[in-house]
Amino acid sequence: MSYLNYHVAQVPTGWRKILHLNWPLVFLVTAVSCIGFLMLYSVSGGDIDRWAGPQMERFAVGMVLMFALAFVPIWFWRSISVASYVICVGLLVLVEVIGHVGMGAQRWLVLGPVRIQPSELTKVAFVMTLAAYYDWLPVEKVSRPFWVLIPVILILLPTGLVLMQPDLGTSIMLVAGGGIVMFAAGVSLWYFAGVIAIVVAGVTTVMESRGTDWQLLHDYQFRRIDTFLDPGSDPLGAGYNIAQAQIALGSGGWSGRGFMQGTQSRLNFLPEKHTDFIFTSLAEEFGFVGAFSLLMLYVLILGFCMYSALTNRDRFASLLTIGIAGTFFLYFSINMATVMGMLPAKGSPLPLVSYGGTSLMILLMAFGIVQSAHVHRPRG
């Protein structure tokens, strides 16, 4: 039986597709977004126009896009995946040439009235490309060196461009997202073990070089590592944000201080309280109960996506869903680990909750694609 021999007749068509959406996923995404509105309202001190209002508008637009994409047949995405990859790389090159510098890095591309952050688009597009690649590649060739090299190049090309912006956070995200797709596609575990071994050896070598005459990093770079390992060592510098975030988070206790009662954020001790550090405000105001609930909602979203991927017999759709869900997982776990002081501080938003247009819209569109994969899965 071939792909075209699917019981296409059994795939819903027209408006009937709406009945076959992954509705629990829609509700979960909406619920998490609503938590976001609530928190944005709270950290703005009750000023709905500041962050919560604009965020709701974008959510509304994003939801419409999500439904629209859900109705597009999944094979359409497969057919444009190579083109979308080429376009994204082209946009990244364009950013390098004429990009707008924001926050010390070149990330934005202004095309008329539209501001695009190509690195965000790339996260989805190149997962799609990798999924298409492994759909095309016969399963028995997956672990052959040559066929492993191709996706590695596909990953490293946009990663290198993003690194030049420079945006270390996003490049790590791209490598990890691509890695998840390769992992799911069945690339031999030895490759992954090899990469991990090389990274560990590299890091060890760099750290061992400290103080010797072949020192590989500058002294200040080592000090930055020190600050991460012990924020107290530089309490007024980089450690400040982390120390304040931890105080806010920990002081929430079991049940929190109550909605809009968080003192750390109210007193402006918290930096970036509406973007990267919004989880600390949530944890302060709603305590362990609230913070853990959000974590569980994320896990449920992840779970529904993974289940959808498992039950989807179309290799492309399955891998794409895993890739998007994996990227989503990286998003929320890296953000939470950062504000809890488990990872070095770097700008990364909390998905669906943090204030920020591009990230929210792209995420909702990605979920639209996941829905599309779900709706158009082969039946019978």
Binding site: R266, N268, F269, F292
Partner: protein, 647 residues
Amino acid sequence: MRKSEREIVESGRLITRRVLMLGAIQAAVVSALGLKLRSMQVEHADEYRMLSDGNSIKIRLLPPARGLILDRHGTIIAGNEQNYRVTLTREEAGDVSAVIARLRHIIPMSDRQIADILEEIRKRSAVTPVLVADRLSWAEFSSIALNAPALPGVTPEAGLSRSYPRAGDFAHVLGYVGPVSDYDLSKIENPDPVLRLPEFQLGKVGMEAKLEEPLRGKAGSRRVEVNSAGREMRELSRQEGQQGATVQTTLDAGLQNFATQRLGSESAAAVVIDVTNGDILAISSSPVFDPNKFVRGISGPDYRALMNHDHRPLADKTVQGVYPPGSTFKMVTLLAGLEAGVINAGSRFYCPGYTQVAGRRFHCWSRGGHGMVDALGSLEHSCDVYYYELAQRVGIDRIAAMARKLGIGVRHELPMSAIAEGIAPDRAWKRARYDQEWQVGDSLNASIGQGYVLASPLQLAVMTARVATGRAVSPRLVRAIDGQPEPVPEWPELDINPLNLRTARAGMDAVMNGSRGTARRARIIAPEWQMAGKTGTSQVRNITAAERARGVISNEQLPWNRRDHALFVCFAPYDMPRYAVSLVVEHGGGGSAVAAPIARDILLYALADGLPPLTAYPESERAKVQEIWSRMNLTPSARKGEGRARA
């Protein structure tokens, strides 16, 4: 692309396996996040709650106290004093201009000052405290502390500020500290965060700048709880900083004070060096300025007055100033000749009052000439013609080599600013500098310390010390850092025949004690302190042929800045040298009349370790000396008890 059923099944199985593995990894990560959350919010919640509840935590840096600088006996010459000041933090203040308006009721501030402060606050980050006012009286300070609730963001602080208890005495050697400027920060690759504190002081020039690192110390920090208005509620923990190292110098505060006062209002420099170990006991440049004014922020008019003063009080003439050494250079030429073997101590030249070389006449200072002159006499009478003859025989390169051997034209490293190298010219130097060949006339000028030769008072003192001891003595200023004595090197023997050195020393003795010595009037008659020296009078202008035709113009008829420099170098006791002194009085006139008496007085003070008995002076000088003493207001070095730092 077609796919067989078998392929689909295999792909599905593979994905299932991998998704389960992926799920397991994700579950582990989520568990870690959940556990960390639980640990922070459930197990350690109370600790965080305490930090956050009502109050919040702040970390404040404790600036370290700057290291003291002491004289050789332990007298504090740079210390720290209490300074009451007020800072403002934008984030805590909210409405900055309203707070400043209220503050104005307590401390008088001009509109201009307020504009400056607002500008500074705008430039700095919201959490950086900005200095609003300092050197407040206790009344103002306590009034601000009392009104703290009405002044959010305003922090009264009692801090330390540098003070120089000896005012101008050590102004040039120590330099001064000042607030850290953006320019200072830009020069440091990775500045210590303590430098960004508004009140922090950094060494700007002199020893304060050169020894910044040991003097600065290490900042401490304290964690304090503040309420939402930024007011400190209590201190949670405190990590004391480390005071900067105490630097004990080789200087003698009493002698430095005497030397500075003895130079008075002259534009002059004096250096006293212990020839046995290189210790600099006094290094004084005159006129002085008060470094405390710079620490507090010098006013415009005061600064302009210092800048426009024709005696240049801000310049350190002891190490930065270079002068033609004049006849004090004759020991160099003499030793070069003796070492080269072109003359011996008994060789004589005839001095008719001039020498004719290459169609030009080079005059001796004595118009009538000195007749037959030997080595000793050449120094005693300071006969120029003797050296013109000698220069033609020995050649400039050997003179320059001897100069460098004795420390002229060589940079002596001391923790002071802009130390000059001077010039010991030779053929190669002139070719490199002017792209011209060396002329025999250049040699003649150089032989008597004129022409291209330039030396700083420090170099002249080193030269004298080396002639006196025959060792390559180098100057040093730091005796101990934090109680750790700086080792005194064993100064190596100079590669000069001791007999020749003895001839030079005997000549210097004859200058003072010979029957017709040029500085006989300034001799010391106490036999245990017998002094040897050499005068120098160096021209700062060329005497034109027209002037010469009209006859010699006396110095007094010239404007101040065209008069000759008066120089003098000396050491004592003659048979067992201990101290050497070099002295330059800019545009002072004659070395013997002006410079020698001052140098003698300073040397005697060093030898007697205080004011010497009058009996050390020749009878004829005593009245004058007493008169000079009576005009002085001396602050001796504190030897015991008061004003002395506990080590």
